[in-house]
Each structure stands twice: as C-alpha cells, then as structure tokens.
C-alpha cells in the first residue's frame, strides 16, 4: 500500500478531499472503509494527539509494567525507581525488537533477547553485551528507549502524545476532566484501582463505529431493555428508571469540544437521587458506603458524586471511553478491525461487596458473552458490511440539528437520541486530519 504523502495525494482517494468527506449533515463512508484514509488517521490522529495509555494504579509498585499501544505503536507503561510512571516505546535501540513481550509483570530491567542489550525501568540503556565491539562510551551515548514527546496524567489517568504540538493535557481534556471526576469521586477516598483484569474484544469494523450513541439503545439492546420491564429493581434497571433514552427525558447528548462527547445523565439522575441513595443503602455494604461518601464529601456533593453511579458515559477522543463500571480503550487494527479493551474499575475505601457487585454488573452487560456489548459488536460489523455498497456512499448524521443548542458553557447540546455526539467527534476528526 502506498502511503499518501500529502493532503493533495489523499484527495485522490476516490477523488475526495477531507473537506468533501465530512460535511455538517453527513460523512462519506470512505472514512470507515478506505485503507489510505486509515493510514492517514494513524499518522494525523493517533500519532499526533493525546492518547490514553493506562491508569497509574495498574502499576502500583516499582518495576510494575503493562504493555499498551499508541495507535499501532507498542509502548511500555512502567513505574520507575523514582515513583513516576514512565511511558517508553517498546523497541530496542539496536535492531528494533520489542524489549518486553509479556503483557504485564514486574521487573528491574528490560532485556532484549535478540543480542542482550539491557535497559532499566527509566528506559536507560545500562548494558550492551560484548561491548568491545563498540567504541568506548557507546552505551552512554546511545541513551535510552525512545519516549513519546509528552506524557501527562489527569488524576492517575496517564496520557501520552507522540507529537509535541499539543495543548497541556488538562486544557485538552477541558470539561471531559470534570466528567472523569464522576468516576474517581464515586470512591469516598477519591481513588480508584484498575487491577481487576480486562475483557479484550475484537470486531470486524472501523474504530469510529464505537462512538457514543443514545439513539441505538432501544434497538440494538432491545433484548436487554425487554428484560428491564420484568425486573424493575435490578441494578441496571434502577439506573434507567423513567426511560432515559426517551427524547422527553432530561438526558442529553453533549459535544464538549475537541471530539470529547457525553451522554449526559446528570439532571435525569439527580431528579431521582434520593430513591437511588435508598437503593444503594439496601444492598450489601451499602450503608457503610453511603456513610463514607457523606462523611467525605458532605451530603449535597456526595449525592452529586453518587448520581451517575460512577458512569459519566464519556468519550475522550480518540481512544478512551469512561462508561459503565469501566475504562475502555479502543485500538485501531485496520480500517475494518478494532480491538476494544474494557477494564473494570474498583473503588478504594468501600466494602468488598460493593466492588464485587460492580464486577457482576459489568459482566452482565459488557464482555464477549454478556447481554450488551456483543450486540454492539454485531451491529458494527453489519454497518461495516453495508458500507461496501457505495452507490450512495453517505452516512447521515443530521439527527437533532433542527433542535441542537449551544449551552452557556459553550458545549453543544441535543436530545438523548440526537447525533450531537457523532458530529462532535467528526468535527475533531476533520480538524486533525486537515493538519498537514
């Protein structure tokens, strides 16, 4: 495959330019199917913007590491001797082999077994084998494993950017950071741990299909919605009282800017917060948990923190979602293949039963044998198949344009089924893809 070398050359993909591909009301399906466009996304989106790598609680002790990806590039997230979380490219300075091959572990050194070069947890090259073959001082001069241009964290969420030309992370996240607080401060100590394993799934469809969509729930998840009726007070049903997916509900879709988007349940959930707190008090470990939350934050703020059940339903462009009881990473594999990694999140400072329940809730809707995400994967595959029909290549994203408003805080807001979120993601996609 020839890589496009200039925007002009990309424009050749079916004779279309980025501007032609993304309009306000519709996008061209080539952005989901075309291998050249996918290559350009890797270059201009994944290799250039802030990417979520992992949570610092995944590497609690010195030497703990996890392997992750930035787009398609392998990286190591490791806790160094100085206590900082380092992100380094997983590629030996000699002839390019990965220096860590198992997905997680604890180590003092990364040794590349091709020729035995050895790096410490800060990435520094500390030993070159049989070094008489090199001039003196070679090892020191080589330095260490390459690093992304920028690594920053927001309350333990570690991000990296391969390009230096990005805003400070906090600024880049904007309101998305405030929403992430809803997960973190669902713990009475304001701490979460991400060490409960991961569901890894893969579907044969484009990464952008994951989206953040309030329109699909009653159709894609009809098998689950049907069950809510039977079981009014079960965990998920209790959260979805008064159909939050009705356009009459107080729920909203929100475009927070820079591609970050939200299914906004805040007002809807606050409207019945007292009932929800009663429900939480009725579950094992609930009274202790609620008391701890009230003590930590004061009743009023505690209720706000509790309202979303730790689930902001937030998409952080391009590879992170914070929803359900999980942190989710999307890895693009090819134009028509995507990996979705779901990491359930445990709360610090709560009774064990609360965390066990969070795990069970997660398993019931997410993962390859659950009631929810397999139907999403199935539908994404059907969308990918359908988009091979290109007589009319347009994807309609106009829903709610007739009633979308700009809120006082500058975010765009639609009804829960409106495509405000899709348009928000595409706006950022277009901005990044248009930068030569």
């Amino acid at each position: 495959m020839n890589k496009p070398t200039s925007p002009a050359q990309l424009a050749v993909s079916r004779g279309l330019s980025i501007d032609d591909l993304v309009e306000q009301r519709r996008v061209h399906s080539a952005i989901y199917t075309d291998p050249e466009i996918f290559e350009l996304e890797i270059e201009r989106i994944f290799n250039r913007t802030w990417m979520y790598i992992g949570h610092e609680s995944e590497v609690p002790r010195t030497g703990d590491f996890r392997l992750r990806k930035i787009g398609r590039q392998p990286v190591i997230m490791v806790r160094g001797k100085d206590g900082a979380v380092n992100v380094m490219m997983n590629r030996c300075l000699h002839r390019g082999a990965v220096v860590a091959e198992v997905e997680s572990g604890n180590t003092k050194f990364f040794r590349c077994w091709y020729h035995g070069w050895t790096y410490d947890t800060s990435g520094k090259l500390v030993q070159v084998t049989a070094d008489a073959g090199y001039e003196p001082g070679f090892c020191e001069k080589k330095g260490g494993l390459a690093r992304p241009a920028r690594v920053e964290d927001y309350r333990g969420f570690v991000f990296a950017s391969l390009s230096d030309d990005v805003l400070p992370l906090r600024e880049h996240l904007g309101q998305a950071a405030d929403l992430m607080n809803y997960l973190i401060d669902f713990s009475p100590t304001g701490k979460i741990t991400v060490n409960a394993g991961v569901n890894k799934t893969v579907y044969r469809g484009n990464w952008k299909l994951v989206g953040m969509d309030g329109y699909h729930v009653n159709y894609v998840h009809a098998s689950v919605v049907e069950g809510w009726a039977d079981d009014e007070n079960s965990g998920i049903a209790a959260m979805h009282k008064n159909d939050p997916f009705s356009d009459e509900a107080l729920t909203r879709t929100r475009d927070l800017g820079r591609g970050h988007v939200l299914l906004d349940f805040r007002e809807h959930r606050m409207a019945s917060i007292d009932k929800y707190v009663d429900f939480l008090r009725s579950i094992p470990g609930g009274p202790t948990y609620i008391d701890a939350m009230f003590a930590a934050y004061g009743e009023e703020q505690a209720k706000r923190n509790l309202s979303l059940a730790g689930d902001p339903h937030l998409g952080v462009f391009p590879n992170l979602q914070v929803l359900g009881n999980q942190i989710r990473i999307m890895n693009p594999v090819g134009p028509d293949e995507t990996e979705v990694l779901m990491f359930p999140v445990l709360l610090d400072g709560v009774p064990d039963e609360i965390n066990a329940l969070r795990m069970r809730q997660h398993e019931s809707f997410y993962g390859p044998s659950s009631s929810g995400s397999p139907d999403d994967a199935e539908i994404f595959e059907r969308a990918q198949m359908g988009m091979n029909a290109t007589v009319n290549p347009w994807i309609d994203m106009s829903r709610g344009l007739n009633r979308e408003i700009v809120d006082v805080d500058g975010t765009r807001v639609g009804r829960i089924s409106d495509e405000t979120t899709q348009r928000g993601q595409m706006r950022e996609w277009k901005r990044l893809m248009s930068m030569a």
Binding site: K200, L341, H362, S369, P374, D375, A377, E378
Partner: protein, 166 residues
C-alpha cells in the same frame, strides 16, 4: 487437578457423568435453551473466568459469573428475537474428551473434561478450545449442575462474540 482422577469410562458413576456431559453438549450445540436451563440446580454457579484459569471472582473480572437467576435471564434473552449477535444463530459442534472423575460420593460427582468447539456463523468459522469442570448433584429429578467452570483457552486475547452457550 488431582493425580488420582480416574478416567470416566472405568466406573459406573463415570459413565453416568460422561453421558450427562454429552447430553448437555447436544443441548448447547442445538440451542435447546430451556432444556439446558433445566439441567441446573437452583443453587448453582456458572463461571467462565477471564484472563487466566484461576482468579478471585470478587476481585477479578470473569467472562460469565452467573447464579441461577442470571442463567435464566441469559436463556430468556437468547430465546427472544432481539439477541442480534445470535441472529442468525451460530452453528455449533463440540467434541468432548479427556473426561475424568475427580471425586464422587453418594450425592455429588466432580470431574473435568476438555472440548474443541467449532462455530460457524455468517461465513466465518471460529475454533474454540476449553476445559470444563462440572460438579453434579443427585436430585429426585436426576443429576443437576451445581457448579460449572469453563476455562476458555484464549480468554486473555481479543475475542469475537461468544454469545452461544459455552
């Protein structure tokens, strides 16, 4: 696994256990969901761990961790017309082997088995491998499943949908 496990065929109770497993496999292969549900004791655990074979299910994620109510809900959902990931249904054949009895007394039989499972759906064939651990209890209606644990060999890799009965 116990080194004293015995090959199922060598004992009468083993043959009974093996016959039960073959029956369960046929029901699962053919999506005979209600009949499969009837094989479960009310007091039961259906467990498919994730990422490893041995995990603490209260601290570590599983793929399935169902009690009776959740199994019944699974059957309800898969029996309806909205479980899109099983529309159309997967065609399934599983081959059970290496059936061994770990322990048996008057009321309970525990044993292991392995399987290879071929799945065909929408022009794609997927091969699954796994190891089962079944604990069966004797009830007035016959043997029932008290506990079933399935270690799916690729449970730490990116997985496509596994929405049929495993």
């Amino acid at each position: 696994m116990n080194k004293h496990a015995t090959i199922a065929r060598q004992s009468e109770v083993g043959q009974e256990y093996e016959a039960f497993l073959f029956h369960e496999a046929r029901l699962m292969d053919n999506h005979r969901l209600e009949e499969w549900l009837a094989l479960w004791d009310r007091d039961c655990l259906y467990w498919v761990p994730c990422n490893a074979e041995e995990v603490d299910p209260n601290r570590q994620l599983s793929i399935i961790y169902d009690g009776y109510d959740q199994i019944r809900e699974r059957v309800r959902r898969l029996s309806g017309k909205f479980a899109h990931a099983q529309q159309p249904k997967s065609r399934l054949i599983r081959v059970l082997s290496n059936i061994e009895i770990e322990s048996a007394d008057d009321g309970t039989i525990t044993g292991h088995s392995t399987f290879v499972l071929g799945e065909v759906r929408l022009n794609r064939q997927v091969t699954w491998f796994g190891r089962n651990e079944h604990t069966l209890v004797r009830t007035e209606e016959g043997l029932r499943i008290r506990r079933k644990k399935v270690f799916v060999l690729n449970n730490d890799t990116p997985m496509p949908n596994m929405t049929f009965l495993i």
